[in-house]
Amino acid sequence: MRKATLLIIFVLLAVISFFISVGVGAVKIGPVDIARSILYEKDTVNYQIIWNVRLPRTIVAALVGICLALSGAILQGIMRNPLAGPNIIGVSSGGGFFAYIILIIFPQYYYLVPIGAFLGALFATLFIYSLAWKQGALPTRLVLAGVAVSSLFSAGTNTLMAFFPDRVHGVLGFMVGGLSAITWQDFRMILPYAILGIILILFLPNKLNILMLGDEVATGLGIKVEKTRFIFIIISSLLAGAAVSVVGLLGFVGLIVPHIVRLFIGSDYRYLFPGAIFFGASLVMICDTLARTLFAPAEIPVGIIMSALGAPFFLYLLRKKEAM
């Protein structure tokens, strides 16, 4: 019962975050006007602002939050490691490296960055998985291979930056993660993966719960451990890759959101997944609102806000919960 209440609170949080994110800016729009514009009023200034500027950005922020939070929640489960996040399976480093190649060496093809980052993320994941494979891919080996491959890609990225110092400025936005030029195009890019993620939570929480009991117990309960783990890693990589390709390297969300939700709601994935969806969406929407309004008209990348606010809040929660 208590878990259900917490879930409702997370849902409310997401709704409130949505209205704040759409409503706050150079022109302030109240919740009633927002609802009216979205539902039926078509010919007002508010409608123009909401549909062309605010709404795509808010919705993409929410979807990015959902994708990263689910990705992190899955990885922390299958690795049985609370520090696992999308970075661990090379999503950030792989996606980042491919994006940098395009941005720095072939800047004229900048529009290929999303698809490049996406493929890079997937490639890095498969590379790590094959390195870790030895009659099965144990979580510890996956983590180690992930760390090694990540530093390999980072080395590549740094090499690029060293050879083209004059072009580094252009990639800064991608590196810290930002939502400044989001359009409906990005929405269409990320939507399928977010939907995939949500379908996933309807069918797979039991499998993940059982995988958490250890490989042997899971085998005993009739789970094909290696196959299931591989499927989860691929889904996780798809989710994070889609998010990274749209907003850049915002992997931190994938680490802290599942963690925070877990502190409140527990490790049962039947609750953790929906909790992560709503809290992930809320957090990115709110942080993005801060990113574009704190120093308006100037805008700072959402990744900076996320780390600056998220890290201390996370540490505070961790200490408080431990004391209890």
Binding site: N209, L213, T219, G220, G222, K224
Partner: protein
């Protein structure tokens, strides 16, 4: 025959751990596997529970080759409690037990009334009714082990495999777990295969004892035939005196020195 292996060989990397194991367990028996460290006890358990694949030879479950049976079907017939298991401290006992129903669940289906009755039954059977809403993290070692056994029971298995179920437990909890296992064997006719380190406990709670030495079977039989001076010397390198426990009607020994 509940479980049978024929010329079973198992490798870890290049190393042959089980060399030629022919192991048979009849329905309704409690069979304990004993042997010194490194003799392959856990490996045999892992092979029986299809966690490690056999290098050669066959494993039969109720007469069928285990590798031809869908893994979920095996899980409905045979429950396994390995040594290494993890559980988040914030999962409740009832929650953990409910995972035992997984092999009986169809894809995407939820636990209905029938499943819940079996979960309640498993919790009652292991004496955990009062603790069912407690978090695993707050339980004692013995209670936690009983919760795992309840999870295995919720699978409604005919065969229960336990790898060192008493390790890390105080003596009273050790007896509690073994008494529970015996009770389940008697009341539900569950076939039990387990690994124990304490030979006296093995003698007391088993119908038969299977002795492994360096990956090969060296003796198999009733406790009073296994717990003998010569075997203890040959396999465990100890000089011991054998006595009879008149209360529990089984042999027991006291070790004197290492040979």
């Amino acid at each position: 025959m509940a479980i049978e292996t024929k010329n079973l060989q198992v490798k870890y990397g290049d190393k042959l751990i089980l060399k030629n194991v022919n192991f048979k367990v009849d329905r309704g028996e409690i069979v304990t596997i004993i042997g010194p460290n490194g003799s392959g006890k856990s490996t045999l358990i892992k092979a029986l529970s299809r966690f490690i694949k056999a290098y050669s030879g066959k494993i039969y479950l109720n007469g069928r080759d285990i590798y031809t049976i869908p893994t979920k079907e095996i899980a409905r017939e045979m429950a396994i409690l390995p040594q290494v298991k993890h559980v988040s401290a914030d999962i409740t006992v009832e929650n953990l037990v409910s995972y035992g129903r997984y092999p009986h669940l169809k894809f995407g289906k939820r636990l209905d009334k029938n499943h819940k009755e079996i979960i309640t039954w498993a919790i009652e059977k292991t004496g955990l009714s009062k603790l069912k809403n407690r978090y695993i993290g707050t339980l004692s070692g013995g209670e936690r082990q009983r919760a795992w056994i309840a999870m295995a029971l919720a699978q409604k298995p005919n065969i229960l495999i336990l790898d060192e179920p008493t390790t890390y437990l105080d003596i009273s909890y050790q007896l509690e777990v073994l008494e529970l296992v015996k009770e389940l064997n008697e009341s539900l006719k569950i076939t039990v295969i387990m690994v124990l380190h304490d030979l006296n406990q093995a003698a007391r709670y088993s119908d038969k004892i299977y002795v492994l030495k360096s990956g090969e079977s060296c003796q198999y039989g009733r406790p009073d035939r296994i717990l003998e001076k010569k075997l203890l010397k040959d396999v465990f390198r100890i000089d011991a005196h054998i006595y009879e426990d008149k209360v529990n009607n089984c042999p027991y020994f006291i070790p004197h020195k290492i040979i």
